[in-house]
Amino acid sequence: MSEAIVTGSIGDPEREPKRARVLDDTTKAAIAFAISLVVIVGAWQLYAMSGYASKLLPAPGAVAVNFFEAVRDPFYSHGDNDKGIGIHLLASLGRVAAGFAIATLIAVPLGIFIGLSPVASKAFDPYIQLLRPVSPLAWLPIGLALSKSSAITALFVIAISSLWPILLNTIYGVRAINPVYLNVARTLGTSRWNTLRHIVLPAAAPNIVAGLRIGIGIAWLVIIAAEMLIGGTGIGYFVWNEWNNLSVASIITAIIVIGAVGLVLDRLFGVLHDRVRFGE
């Protein structure tokens, strides 16, 4: 907005700047978004009508109808296996919250410990390097074998998948603390606990929150896949149940809902990230 004013003033200092003529970036982006959406939906509609698409692909209109039906009554329950999308969504969010909390409670303290201790860093490195790239779903059978319960398995898979970015970012955040802060604290005779609480944690917080933000994204990604395999309730189960009826329209509805929730989760941690800036 300010840019538009500035340009206008420089170009013609005599006149009033014509703000109405020059669009600001947000408006431009909104127009570009609207045009691209029309193009994508139009292409989809044409492809669905063309006969080249498989019979599984619904037209956009069918998806819109399906979406509004699902969203209009999201909390209905017609028995154990027929519930509204809102109930499934809450079940998934509950699971993600629990699994993610477990991951955070393990990864942050462990990350601080490893970040502060060069010996621990070397000792734990092989585990981190070996386990970090493992696909989340490879943990499913291990979880089931360990716990004999698919509810716990789901939490286990979320926790172990979202653990790594939190851990690595915490380690990095602790290592990146300006040594001057720690030296000053030591010179002043600050206790270990107070150093941790007033210097290490706040100084590493921006990086830790960045790790949490990546972690919650992974947790949300993983829960859908895990629920599809395990069954029960949850948005992943909803997707599977609709797939069972080959209802791709319902699956696209679910994708929109899943994406929107993922966006909200990401924004929440974005807001948190803005609040924990330290020493800048």
């Binding site: 017609h78 296996n81 027929d82 089931l144 698919s150 599809m228 009826n245």
Partner: protein, 390 residues
Amino acid sequence: MLDRRQFVSAAAAAALGATSREAFAATGKPEKTKLRVGFIPITCATPLIMAKPLGFYAKYGLDVELVKMPSWAALRDKAVAGELDAFHMLSPMPLSISLGTGSAQVPMKLASIENINGQAITLAKKFQGRINGPKDFKGLKLGVPFDFSMHNLLLRYYLAGAGVNPDRDVQIQVIPPPDMVAKLTVGEIDGFLGPDPTNQRAVYNEVGYIHMLSKEIWNNHPCCAFAAQAAFVKENPNTFRLINKAIIDAAHFAHDANHRADIAKTIAVKEYLNQPEEVISAVLTGSFNDGHGGHENVPDRVDFSPYPWHTYSYWIISQLQRWKYIKGSVDYEGLSKEVFLTEVARDLAKEVGFKTPPADFQSVKLMYDTFDPRFAGEYLAKQKRALLSA
């Protein structure tokens, strides 16, 4: 091992209460009344599902939650972990899990058969008129729902009997039932021997046609079963007897052709199978379009007969050996008696007022041969020789 004492006391109790139709007359009070039972959303699960809306579970004092499972592998994992109380299973599964082939070894009990028949070979539309018999299957990619399924064993029997080696001449893949129609639609597989309603759904979606019903391979073959961990049966003998009784009762209800249209309406909903009602109705009434222009009337396309003949387990074991899912020798009699609760099923059927055969065995006629369980070893040897010479 069959728990003799438990069996005897149960049989004695059954004899005492045989004339009464009171809920707990033959059995004591259930040890556990809230049960969770896993099922796969296919028409085979009809008795297990229908026992709920019919109020049969409630009649025997049970509160049963039906838990829909996404695949046989996921259901097997729950069975091995003991996470649910009882299960809708493919009839070879209690045997394979008891042996520990394809999973951890956990002793299982097969309480009753859910359905007989009820499967079909479905092929992609493009094969219409081009495939006339098993010999034409060479080179095809085919789906079956699970390794330890009658579907897999019947498909292999059908092919091998015509000299087509199912391990060499075709590609058989394990595909969960809902994925079968999708994969057929996009051309990833050429066909499948699947459970219903999968076959009829392929016809409904106009992507496949029914090549043949599985009853043409073996009329009245077993398909799915009701099973639980032996440990659960031992700890909850009364509960297990009552739920088994409710399901046997429902199987007899579903056997009646007059009930089929209503059953289709009841189980087609999202809560259970989540399929178009006309698809389920076509399967259950046996009045269906075959996908290549014909309309057929086969009332026993699927039927419901809970009696677990030992013939079934003998045949299944012989075929699991034939295709090397089981390596080494198996005690046919010991394993069958341990896993198949045939005598209990007979008593329960009597209690709910139905006739059952007095024998555990009978010879059965299949497409290519006759299976006499007394000579299962010779049967297997002959099949192996035939395939080698083919």
